[in-house]
Amino acid sequence: MTGQLTEPAPTTTDPRGRRVPRLVVGGRDVTMAAAFITLIAVLVLVAALTADTFLTPTNLTNLLKQMVTTGLLSFGMLVVILTGGIDLSVGSIVAFSGIVTAGLVSGLPIPVAMAVGVVSGIGFGLVNGALIARFELAPFVVTLAALTTIRGLAFVYSEVPIAPEDPGFFTLGSATLGPVPVSTLIMLAVFLVGGVFLTRTPPGRSIVAIGGNAETVRLAGINVRRHVVLAYTISGACAGLAGVVLASRVGIAQPSVGVAFELDAIAACVIGGASLAGGRGSVRATFGGVLVLVLINNLLNLYGVQSFWQQVLKGLIIIAVILVQRTNRVRS
């Protein structure tokens, strides 16, 4: 045959020719994953050794509860980011879905009210996606406009917070299965199903491929627009679900909730190695990113770091984490 060289052995170089040691297990390159798991393990270890309250059951349950909203939003965000887009409207959708659900609880059965909340998220996602895919508008601006509009609509629906009386409303947010909150299980289910969706179904693979090269995908006979709409719809659905769960957990729905939630969700994806240019990102690593963010918050609280210093440190830690991530990143 031709003078083709054999494929590189388990090492690779970064653009300036430095070596990055690689870890290959069962034919898969797990360098990134290993580095990331190490990072989380170190965080947990440091936490366990330095904050004696860290490993208490209460605190662990807290951790599980605290990752629900960011987790749900991050999965939806990942799907959108994979297409090369971004969804800034999720925080507003959380508010809208929560307030609508809380508002409907008095008239409708609770599950129906909650379903309406999720469906409202789906609806907003559909509109976002349609505008972006059909008219080829910049996702950043469309979802930024949606952020504003949907927030306004949440207030139009109710200017004041709504606290349903029915204790059934709180179940979703506060029930536990053994030591694990049901809401956490729901989020884990989303990640599991979502992982299978993205890696093993045609629409999931199409979404990843679109972020890599949309024109190639279109020429391969796949309807790019429909899949872009699907991605934003998934993000909307996740945000709608997050809104319902959050309202149920807090016990009261506020139209002003969820400001800047999108930033944490995006941060989780990027900490997990997703590229905002699309086409690269992993469900597992995004989950890792969520863990990292929640751990940072929890630790800063456990150490009793002063609020403003918390902000200072949180920013610095995120930089440190992505720096560590970077030295382990495989560049293409």
Partner: protein, 495 residues
């Protein structure tokens, strides 16, 4: 100046791709570097131009040791490079692409009038005067963009000009301009290092030829002392008797017919038919509208008027998916931009078109897909054999091209449109591709082969359509025509 490489080695993270290359180039020489895909030509060139560092060995300029830490160092020594991948900035004007980093200034600010004038002067001086320096580079055809790249390298009167496959996207008079330019530079005492898979032009232009194989120089020769077939033999490491398979076409029923198809501004009133078992060539000069025609037939762009018929019935392809459903496949001319999803695995790429059809419940039938893709990898001998889970960008150019082919073959098309399928592909891979097209046609596939390579069009097809300025100007039998006749149609001067 004399440029000398001694024992140059290069490894990418432990894998050595150059194993001690020696090379000497002298002023006024055209040093051709040939070799199969992945032989290490581009790597060699990146070392010469400071874009990559060598792992061992040395470089000497006029006898003195030199070390390049960045492209800037190479520029400073008068070495300029035109890389294999196009690298113009599409959003900037031609002038700006040319003069980037050294604009004429007046009172501290860029003097745009002077800059455009200088760019125009430069383009004219090297025979590329047809390019307007004020247009956005991204609006130019790929060929013109390539010419801008070449002009860019000549802004600062280099002493060494390195060209990595400059002709791959050129044809016709653009190619002639390039050749004339190379000759003029040679006369001026510039050392030109020229990488190409087109051996005919190598034989025509080079003063000496270096053959690279598996990261080693295995022969240094001159056009007068060798032949194309000898070079091919050296590159491939075995003798190749025949490049094009014998065609004995017995065309079957009409698979695809096009009637008066027009897309305003691109092509007009195009009609032709493709029959089962037939390979039809579509020749034309760059910009004659062939690719647009192919994309339009495939439903990737809407037509202004005209019809496409498949197996007799009228169809209107609104999107490529409609065309695919009707049995069409299109291998596009630019694999990087329209053929592959670079960041995904070979498996994902080859399985892309067929993924929706290969389901078990909502999931992709992973086992079946792996098996079918594996068969394709075998059949097209995509290297390395275990590449299914590799990212497709890590394949060499020729193998990437095969991956694109595999993707479409897996869809089992009845009509296959190939747009420049052998661009940048080495000779042995080309031969493999010609074999395969031939085999498929024998099994009843209808093939439309778009190519700017006259010998290819003549050798690999049964029938040739020629386009000029968006119109079909000739239809010729491959076994009864000549290169001159085809060209005459292509430039619209046939009797």
């Amino acid at each position: 100046m004399t440029l000398e490489l001694r024992g140059v080695r290069k490894d990418y993270g432990g894998v050595e791709v150059l194993h001690g290359v020696d090379l000497v180039g002298r002023p006024g020489e055209v040093l051709a570097v040939v070799g199969a895909n992945g032989a290490g030509k581009s790597t060699l060139i990146k070392i010469l131009s400071g874009a990559q560092s060598m792992s061992a060995g040395e470089m000497r300029i006029d006898g003195e040791a030199a070390e390049f830490r960045s492209p800037h160092d190479a520029h400073a020594r008068g070495i300029r490079t035109v890389y294999q991948e196009l690298s113009i900035v599409p959003g900037l004007s031609v002038t700006e692409n040319l003069l980037m980093g050294n604009f004429p200034k007046r009172r501290g600010l860029i003097d745009w009038a002077a800059a455009h004038a200088r760019a125009r002067e430069l383009l004219e001086s090297i025979g590329f005067g047809a390019i307007d320096p004020r247009t956005l580079a991204g609006r130019l055809s790929v060929a013109r963009q390539q010419m801008v790249e070449i002009a860019k390298a000549l802004v600062s009167e280099p002493r060494v000009l390195v060209l990595d496959e400059p002709s791959a996207v050129l044809a016709g008079s653009d190619l002639e301009s390039l050749f004339a330019l190379v000759r003029r530079l040679r006369e001026r005492g510039v050392l030109v290092i020229y990488v190409s898979h087109r051996l005919a032009e190598v034989m025509e232009l080079a003063t000496s030829i270096v053959v690279v194989k598996d990261g080693r120089v295995i022969a240094t020769t001159e056009p007068a002392r060798t032949s194309e077939s000898e070079l091919i033999g050296l590159m491939a490491g075995r003798r190749l008797e025949q490049i094009y398979p014998d065609r004995r076409a017995e065309p079957g029923e009409v698979r695809l017919s096009v009637h008066g198809l027009t897309r305003r501004g691109e092509f007009e009133d195009v009609s032709f038919a493709l029959r089962a078992g037939e390979i039809v060539g579509l020749f034309g000069l760059v910009g004659s509208g062939r690719s647009e025609l192919a994309r339009c037939v495939f439903g990737a762009e809407p037509a202004t008027s005209g019809q496409v018929k498949v197996a007799g019935g009228d169809v209107r392809f609104r999107a490529p998916s409609d065309a695919i459903a009707a049995g069409l496949a299109l291998v596009t001319e630019d694999r990087k931009r329209t053929g592959l999803v670079g960041g995904m695995s070979v498996l994902d790429n080859i399985g892309l078109t067929t993924m929706y059809g290969m389901r078990r419940g909502p999931l992709i039938d992973a086992a079946r897909r792996r098996e079918r893709v594996g068969e394709m990898i075998d059949r097209l001998s995509i290297q390395p054999a275990h590449c299914a889970s590799m990212r497709v960008v890590n394949l060499s150019g020729g193998n990437q091209q095969k991956a694109v082919l595999a993707k479409w073959l897996l869809a089992e098309p009845r009509v296959l449109i190939l747009d420049e399928p052998t661009r940048g592909v080495d000779m042995s891979t080309r031969i493999a591709i010609y074999r395969m097209i031939d085999d498929l046609a024998r099994d009843g596939l209808a093939v439309l082969l778009i190519s700017s390579d006259l010998t290819e069009v003549l050798g690999a097809t049964d029938r040739i359509l020629v386009m000029n300025q968006g119109r079909v100007t000739g239809e010729l039998r491959s076994d009864r025509t000549t290169e001159d006749e085809i060209l005459a149609h292509a430039i619209g001067q046939a009797a």
